[in-house]
Point group: C2
Chain length 353, copies 2
């Protein structure tokens, strides 16, 4: 029995970082204009000659670049689609977020496991509002969230019966990536995004860029203090995973209250598989919540459906999205009784008050 599996995992951070640096350096953007030899490509990216060829060839060996018989490098087919900034399928902004933030954050995994407390990110910064006060952090975070949402937003636009609804509001919308993709695919829909007031300019600019300012509006608020806006469909994507269970329940109750009878809530997350043994990505995403939040974690779709039914939702079902994400859809049935009572205002670490 060889140690190859252990060594492959142990050294895997190096291949990650090669990709992350390649995006940072604009490598895939440069090659989107056409194949280039090592020297020209080095000059274009501002690389020192030493190491450049090893770097390019490492990316060839990782099947992220191709190299032809003349030694010219080109983007691999998937990189042409997803790492060319001019493609609507671009996810390089997510990769930049991994590069600038998450890679070094994970160096703090051991103390996070020992303390059970956030080491950095919104919670360590004192809440999302303080976290957003630093403009550079704010922008890289926003772009990262958008890059990480685009593909699953498109899948959600395809795989939900939008024809049956008129309005949709995305709760915790950031730049508005999710409502934008859905509105682009379904011209009859109107609605928008709800988030902290600081997000208004970023949302407005992103929505305008996509020509949707006539159909999508920004709803400012704090979802622990304010009621949620009304719409036929509410979406919460990667929101519940930031918080502990009482806060999740409160948010589900608020969504239930904001929906009309017949309305639907869609909660999309990187769900852990029910047996907690087949999706390393989700379990590692949960550790990312450990490192960055006070009480957050990933959870299973089954857990989410249980909480939804506990607060009064009727039918629940799972819709597969992209990149291992899924959406749990819960419907508010007319006259259904909520089983959990909201008897108190929850203490909230991230509250602005």
């Amino acid at each position: 029995m060889s140690p190859d599996h252990i060594l492959e995992i142990g050294y895997a951070f190096r291949k990650s970082k090669a990709l992350l640096s390649a995006v940072e350096l604009g490598l895939f953007a440069a090659l989107a204009e056409g194949p280039q030899g090592a020297d020209a490509l080095s000059r274009r990216l501002g690389l020192h000659g030493r190491g450049a060829r090893d770097f390019f060839d490492a990316l060839v060996a990782l099947k992220l670049l191709d190299r032809d018989a003349g030694g010219r490098y080109a983007n691999a087919p998937d990189c042409s689609i997803y790492l060319d900034p001019n493609q609507p399928t671009y996810i390089g902004d997510l990769v930049e977020y991994l590069n600038v933030r998450m890679y070094r954050t994970w160096d703090l995994l051991t103390p996070a496991l020992r303390q059970g407390a956030p080491q950095c990110g919104p919670a360590a910064a004192g809440g999302f509002e303080d976290y957003y006060a630093d403009q550079a952090t704010f922008e890289i975070f926003l772009k990262g969230m958008t890059g990480g949402s685009r593909l699953l937003a498109r899948a959600l636009a395809e795989r939900f019966p939008w024809d049956a609804y008129e309005t949709v509001i995305d709760i915790g919308t950031a730049q508005g990536c999710v409502p934008v993709e859905i509105a682009l695919a379904h011209p009859h829909l109107t609605g928008g995004g709800f988030d902290l007031p600081q997000l208004q300019p970023a949302f407005a600019s992103y929505v305008r860029k996509h020509g949707l300012d006539g159909r999508l509006a920004f709803y400012p608020g704090n979802f622990f203090e304010d009621p949620l806006p009304n719409a036929d469909v509410l979406i919460m994507g990667r929101v519940l995973h930031d918080w502990d269970l009482p806060a999740r329940r409160l948010l589900l109750i608020k969504a239930y209250e904001a929906l009309p009878a017949g309305g639907a809530l869609i909660v999309h997350e990187s769900y852990i598989d029910d047996r907690r043994r087949s999706r390393p990505h989700s379990l590692l995403a949960s550790l990312n919540m450990l490192i960055q939040t006070d009480g957050g974690s990933e959870f299973t779709a089954r857990e989410c459906m249980t909480w939804m039914r506990e607060v009064g939702f009727g039918k629940t079902r799972v819709v597969r999205l992209a990149g291992g994400h899924a959406g749990v859809v819960a419907t508010k049935v007319r006259g259904a009784k909520r089983r959990v009572r909201v008897g108190r205002r929850l203490p909230c670490v991230y509250s602005s008050s």
Copy 2:
């Protein structure tokens, strides 16, 4: 075409760090004593309850742990062999080196590529001698080198015709892992290890621990300033990759001069494949040399054989070792002429003078 390959690579640092932290926390050592449930294991490792189960289950999903129907965790079979500190096959010291040093070092890949200059490690510290001055750095480096050498040293002990030789000296031996494994397997051999004088205590203690102090001696020196010691077989493992081409040639010449006619030099490295497209590990290892040394890089076995023949060696051949490493064996033929002349003493950044 899905973005899964890009995302798998982009996020791979998280699975690395989960393994690295597991070794740091003593997880595999604890489970080597027997299976344990999540709570007992958390207490044993000093983990906070929050995150512990996700951590263990992430390792299950990564196939590094098993979990039985009763929820008890056990080491996966390969981890029982390679990550139990009581096994002679232990490579956890290499993993600790990756955890404490290399993971964060790689956050500096982008500036290393731009500048072509080391960002940390021996070269940035002003040379190996200054690098070794910090005791904690020194120990983790030494243990890491030993952990990274043990399996290939055993393969080398098996796959070279040691019966034809009497003496062996390992150049740049650190703790002496390589000569120890070879001497353990071949009781007729004597010899030892050559390295900077600072390494003497670590070498002496490691050799004594293996009961080999009667057969293996330490040869102190600086291989750029002093002649190499004489032996039937000289070994240089992960030495040439630290230096630029003129320094590599000088070291090969010195080895040639120190060998008797009929003697052999073995150079083992993580060789890049000749077509520079099929072994990402070696190409990434070369970038590690970019980050940590002034002129180092990995290279192909064919390049190494060319340099060896240029300095006068006769036959050369490749011996496959473990973990993607290989040894290039070069024989000194009686009366052969060296094609390259040593006309000068090389300037050397790491020299002690």
